[in-house]
């Protein structure tokens, strides 16, 4: 179980708000690195653990001052820890199960096969190069000679025409 998937589940947790006083089934506690704690309903969170809380009660570090705020946004990297209701854990297990049911994508191995052929194709080349070292003059000579001959041949014909 991943910490953030727990949070994601907690976020999607059914939260019944009825009449004047909303029930508070999902009351999370967030403690920041500076020691302040925030109690509230988790509205939203993201992959950075940035958190949006509703109906928040903020407690100072020493625990003797309290503030009420309708909502707040907390940056993920300032969080020390979170306390999550126990019932979320059952939900998250259900969710991971349903995720496991999904098929992972399969194919896409064509390249790997091509690579396997690659080294086989290269090896002769390497051997060929090795031979080239000993028989450079013949192969190199051929190449140069061929191209040179073509060029001169072209020029020659050109001259001939002119």
């Amino acid at each position: 179980m991943l910490p953030l998937s727990l949070l994601k589940t907690a976020q999607g947790h059914p939260m019944v708000r009825t009449f004047t006083f909303p029930r508070m089934p999902l009351h999370m506690l967030v403690e920041l690195k500076n020691g302040e704690t925030y109690n509230g309903h988790l509205v939203n969170c993201d992959t950075w653990m940035n958190i949006h809380l509703r109906e928040v009660i903020c407690t100072s570090k020493d625990g003797d001052r309290f503030w009420r705020m309708p909502e707040c946004y907390i940056r993920g990297n300032t969080i020390k820890y979170l306390r999550v209701p126990d019932e979320v854990i059952d939900k998250v297990q259900e969710e991971t199960k349903s995720r496991a049911d999904r098929k992972p994508p399969g194919v896409g191995r064509g390249r790997g096969r091509a690579r396997e052929d690659g080294p086989g194709g290269r090896q002769p080349k390497g051997a060929g190069r090795g031979l080239d070292d000993s028989a450079r003059t013949t192969s190199g000579g051929r190449g140069r000679g061929g191209s040179g001959g073509k060029n001169t041949g072209g020029r020659g014909s050109g001259r001939g025409r002119g």
Partner: protein
Amino acid sequence: MSGRKETVLDLAKFVDKGVQVKLTGGRQVTGTLKGYDQLLNLVLDEAVEFLRDQDDPLKTTDQTRRLGLIVCRGTAVMLVSPTDGTDEIANPFIQPDGA
């Protein structure tokens, strides 16, 4: 799941309204939100900083300092909340006797 939407909180609803911002290091500022971006950089107008106790920098005092128009850097923003409806209250947690 998160998809394209990157912000947890849509700050659009706070624009031109009073917000309270806590910054890393302990500074606390309120002001009128004039602008923001996805990095949570904020533009606050008529910003007021709450000065802190010299002996205990974690405690804010009633003393304030007017800052005017400021830009809060997103990386330093720890917490954003609307000032509307934010009040200091008595201990709301029922303390069990003898605890």
